[in-house]
Amino acid sequence: MKLDSLIPSPLRKPAKPGEGNGAKGQAPADLKTAPPERPSHTEKLVDKAKEAPVDVLAWVDQRTAASGFLTGMLFRKVPKGTNWFYTLGSATLFAFIVQAVTGVFLAMFYTPSTTQAYASISHINNEVFLGAFVHGMHKWGSSVMVILIFLHMGRTFFFGAYKYPRELNWVIGVVLLILTMTMAFTGYLLPFDQRSFWASVVGININGTGPVIGPYLSDFLRAGPELGATTLSRFYAIHMLLLPGAIIALIGAHMYLVVKLGTTAPPWVRAEKPKLAAPVTKLDAGAEGNGAAPPR
């Protein structure tokens, strides 16, 4: 079965000019000598079954008009010179999705209690089927996401993609970077082993060194003067309720602006000069002889 038959016509990639197939299909040479064969009952059923997915998509499309939005988003024009560096943003998004999915499944077994957190993590790692794998994906995936988000930021910076009119998207990206780092910080405490505990103590104390509001910020993070039982549940709530919502909302805004504004060409790709209808030659014969740049 061809994939094209599954995609409703408004969703199909539009044909390039001159490549479209305008013909409706080959007509029989002579209808009298070769009458069209009537489809059998089974063939009719097969045809219906083949069209069922199209019908379902068309039903949804008629009620949501999503195809216009999706074609605009999926088949938008990209500038010449677009290369693999442009996939870093999608890679970061994929890393986030991995974190979200594995996080949901980890939450099914994790207990955010100071006395049971470590035991529940050991249970996940040692006893739950594929538990070590899912936990490992989440643990190492967080580092992957932080690395990718920085590479994505570097790409944006070095390609000058933060300039007008994309400054707001840079700002949203910076907020997303901060939220990702906060995510990594709050997630670090959750296993509640020695490393988590002391890393969080040190991290909270670094927060506290900010003048005037630092001490109060530390108390807010710990929910008290010392790291206690409520600190863990507080970090857990921030890690899996507050920040994911904020990150998802901002990713939506980020991607809306990408689609709305389009992407930039790499800095080494120069804008093409508009082609003239007829080459202009010998307009000023003396100019070439004077060392002026040759016409391109």
């Binding site: 100071t114 505990f197 003048p211």
Partner: protein, 226 residues
């Protein structure tokens, strides 16, 4: 540029009498606000009140622990005779209740020494929490110093900073002697001259102007007087 056409099209409206605007829907003469506007303001105001009724308690709920001070806690760590003046003995006691081993902390306890102008009847309890970022320091008998494993902070016998990144001496705990038993109580911080001040988090300076840049938190106990 005003030309003939402008004059005809009435660019200078002031020269002509203003035509009265038609009243907006629901507007009666003498009203300062249309019905539509009044309802808009009322709906937005009610929405704002409803939003505040949810958000403010929630924020207060999350921020309340900053202003809450727990119960003062004293714990017996051993008989007075267990401690001497010229070296420390390590004791472990609970500082935060309800979280098991994670709530325990370590103090180094000795009797007062005349060498430092202390009474032999008092007991000194030095916290093992490094004043840099809160790692656990240990007392090294051979050197007579407290040494931090994380970033190399070094403190002398009294807990005063000798070197490394710490910003102030080691914290101390209040102590008292009841029925021949040494009890340790709330934590307090000290200035570089070992004057007691309210407990600060590691990494925060004490004394002088720092008392204002790192204000004391309501969740900590007042320092011992004198």
């Amino acid at each position: 540029m005003a030309d003939e056409a402008d004059k005809q099209n009435g660019a200078e409206t002031s020269s002509r009498p203003e035509r009265a605007k038609p009243d907006p829907p629901g507007y009666f003469e003498g009203e300062s606000m249309t019905r539509r506007r009044a309802f808009t303001v009322a709906a937005q105001g009610l929405g704002g009140i409803a939003g505040a009724a949810i958000v403010l308690p929630a924020v207060g709920f999350a921020v309340a622990p900053i202003f809450h001070r727990g119960k003062e806690r004293w714990e017996v760590v051993g008989p007075v005779d267990d401690f001497v003046a010229d070296t420390y003995r390590q004791v472990v006691f609970t500082e935060t209740e309800g979280i098991g081993d994670a709530g325990k902390t370590t103090a180094y306890v000795r009797k007062g020494s005349k060498q430092f102008g202390e009474s032999p009847n008092e007991v000194v309890a030095v916290s093992n929490r490094c004043a840099h970022l809160g790692c656990p320091v240990s007392y090294v008998e051979a050197a007579g110093n407290f040494i931090c494993p994380c970033h190399g902070g070094v403190y002398d016998f009294q807990g005063k900073r000798l070197g490394g990144p710490p910003v102030r001496p080691l914290d101390q705990f209040q102590t008292r002697i009841r029925n021949g038993q040494v009890e340790v109580g709330p934590r307090y911080s000290v200035t570089s001259q070992l004057e007691p001040v309210r407990a600060r988090d590691p990494g925060e300076f004490t004394g002088g102007i720092w008392e204002y840049l790192y204000p004391p938190r309501p969740s900590t106990f007042p320092p011992p007087s004198g």
